[in-house]
């Protein structure tokens, strides 16, 4: 092979090598940029969400539209008793005789990791409600406390507690020091 052909081939190989390495590097960078943009887009969405949430919570704090917390003890069993008594008395004041079952406190999965919130599952069985309005009133009153209804049934058996009107709900607890 003549010298000029050897030079051309050698430089051709060199150019090919440079091109291959270059293209590989460019592809890798492009991938990183694409990934970065996707992450940025997610972060921007997250920022927007957090921003709106902050705005809304700030507004809530300013307007004083906050919930009433039930007094709590340090002992979990005492807390259960306190909770059962509170709900029974609460319903009793509304003219409802109820059987209340309180489960153990656990970490709630209903909230993002931004805040730490626990939940106490509750089951309420009422057998003596006299009118539909009484039910509506009870549900409205729940709104003043950090209660959230999960199941409401009249005449059904979806909630394992005796009674004609059965409610399964959660009581949200803000752990101390969070």
């Amino acid at each position: 092979m003549s010298k000029d052909k050897i030079i051309i081939v050698a430089f051709g190989v060199l150019i090919l090598l440079v091109a291959l390495i270059g293209v590989k590097k460019i592809k890798a960078l492009n991938g990183q940029i694409r990934e970065g943009k996707e992450q940025l887009s997610k972060s921007s969405q997250r920022l927007e969400y957090v921003d709106k949430l902050e705005e809304s919570l700030e507004e809530r704090r300013i307007t004083g539209k906050v919930l009433v917390e039930i007094p709590r003890a340090h002992d979990p069993i005492a807390n259960k008793v306190l909770m059962r008594k509170f709900v029974t008395n609460f319903l009793s004041r509304l003219g409802l005789e109820a059987e209340v079952k309180v489960d153990g406190e656990r970490k709630s999965r209903d909230f993002p990791d931004v805040v730490t919130v626990n939940e106490v599952p509750l089951r309420i069985g009422i057998s003596n409600y006299s009118s539909y309005d009484q039910v509506i009133k009870m549900l409205r009153e729940f709104g003043n406390f950090p209660f959230v209804v999960e199941v409401l049934t009249i005449g059904g058996t979806d909630v394992p507690v005796p009674g004609h009107l059965r409610v399964q709900l959660k009581y949200y607890v803000i752990p101390k020091g969070s």
Partner: protein, 462 residues
């Protein structure tokens, strides 16, 4: 300094020439001849290398003319063809005439009428034996400065005649009288018509140079035979052996007018150098830009081509490398900017999340408000959509994966089966029409005498 080397003799004729403008920039220099002959001498080929090495520092350019026996000149008539075809045609003609072992250059002398209406081109080719050219090239292998012009002896002479104003469209014989070889070249305009070497007899054998004169005369006669319509009426003598006696003898014998060359118009320093060799002077006078009949040895051509390829390949490689480097640096910069921006956004999110942690109760309140349905409205709407004659047995609402799904069961008690079924249908329609309910489906319907038991599922549209 320009070194002109003429290899036509046994020794190398050499002239060192300086450009007049180069030497002095005064206004008087512009009026004086351009060339200044510094040195003119003969050296042996074996001593040439040493001489050139001694002069290496001041040498800027070297020009070389080859031996006459290894060169040829020919006027060819070829059809007027395109450049590439013309080149092929010329190559064929030259190979036919002088064999394949030569390099040649051509000079277009213009159009001449051909057969019928066709036009031919008159082309002068000047060639040199390839091996002879390589041998010449090898002489300069160790020199720092390599010759930039290799040409033939007559072409150098032609340049001299042209610059001294002697060359015209009339045939002119230029005789360079040297010992032991005298060279005769006949020019007509730009055409080199004839070249001949004549061996001069020893001075003691032929004191009057009558044999030489006869040879010159025979050469002119030969020319007249070749070109019967032309006669060489002018003759110029040069060379170390030329003198007035020979000039007179030649003029008388040939009847040609003797033309003298006024070398002072083209160069200075002639007196000091005691007569510069005309071939060397011609080489010095060749315009390097117009040296159309200059040759480049194949080995040099190959080296140049190799260098060109190397330069081109390096440039292309470098360009490719630079392009990739630019793209990569651009992308890297973009990535860095993106990362920095993303870092900023993340920081802002963390800051806001930290602030949110201080408002857990508000958070819970917000969550409850957004996930709980408006119970009063829902229950009142449920009561409203149930038509008379229909009794609900059960009513259930469940929050499943952030979606409120409901189920009602009951009995429609109409006057007969049909009215009971119509009541169930009315109930279903009422559900469907309500803005609070969606995806309403009657999933069970059972006749129980006149009554109809039913089950409807739905979703809360909140």
């Amino acid at each position: 300094m320009l070194i002109c080397l003429d290899f036509t003799g046994q020794k190398v004729n050499l002239a060192c020439v300086k450009n007049g403008k180069e030497k002095s920039k005064s206004s008087s220099a512009a009026k004086s001849p351009q060339l200044h002959v510094v040195e003119s001498l003969e050296v042996n080929v074996s001593d040439l290398e040493e001489y050139l090495q001694n002069r290496s520092g001041e040498t800027k350019e070297i020009r070389v003319s080859g031996t006459l026996e290894h060169t040829f000149h020919k006027i060819l008539m070829v059809p007027d063809l395109k450049k590439k075809m013309l080149r092929v045609s010329l190559e064929n003609e030259v190979v036919k005439e002088f064999g394949a072992g030569c390099q040649f250059r051509e000079q277009d002398l213009g159009e001449v009428p051909g057969s019928a209406d066709k036009v031919n081109r008159k082309i002068m080719v000047a060639g040199i034996n390839r091996d002879a050219l390589e041998d010449l090239s090898r002489v300069f292998a160790k020199c720092r400065v390599k010759p930039n012009i290799y040409t033939t002896y007559p072409i150098a002479l032609q340049a001299l005649l042209e610059k001294t104003g002697v060359l015209s469209e009339e045939p002119l014989a230029f005789v360079v009288l040297e010992s032991p070889t005298t060279r005769i070249v006949i020019f007509k305009g730009k055409e080199i018509r004839l070249t001949r070497e004549v061996n001069a007899a020893e001075a003691d054998q032929d004191p009057e140079n009558s044999a030489l004169v006869k040879d010159i005369y025979r050469t002119l006669l030969f020319y007249n035979d070749t070109y019967p319509e032309e006669r060489v009426a002018r003759l110029a003598l040069a060379g170390s052996l030329s003198n007035s006696q020979i000039a007179k003898n030649v003029s008388e014998k040939t009847g040609a007018e003797m033309v003298s060359l006024d070398l002072k118009t083209v160069c200075r320093g002639i007196e000091e150098t005691n007569g510069i060799h005309p071939g060397c002077l011609g080489l010095a006078l060749l315009n390097s830009d117009e040296a159309g009949l200059g040759f480049v040895p194949f080995s040099v051509q190959e080296r140049k081509a190799l260098k060109r390829i190397l330069t081109l390949a390096s440039s292309v490689s470098l360009a490719v490398f630079l392009v990739f480097a630019l793209i990569i640096s651009r992308f890297s910069l973009d990535l860095r900017n993106l990362s920095a921006f993303h870092g900023g956004v993340k920081g802002e999110i963390t800051m806001k999340e930290d602030r949110l942690k201080e408002m857990p109760l508000e958070f819970v309140s917000q969550s409850i408000e957004t996930t709980q349905p408006p119970w009063s409205e829902v229950l009142l709407e449920l009561a409203a959509v149930v038509p008379s004659g229909v009794a609900l047995k059960t009513l259930t609402l469940k929050n499943i994966k952030k979606m409120w799904r409901g189920e009602i069961t009951g009995i429609a008690d109409g006057s007969d089966e049909i009215s009971s079924l119509l009541q169930v249908e009315e109930l279903q329609n009422n559900f469907s029409k309500s803005p609070l309910f969606a995806s309403v489906k009657l999933i069970e319907r059972e006749l129980q005498g006149k009554q109809v038991a039913f089950k409807i599922v739905y979703q809360l549209d909140i």
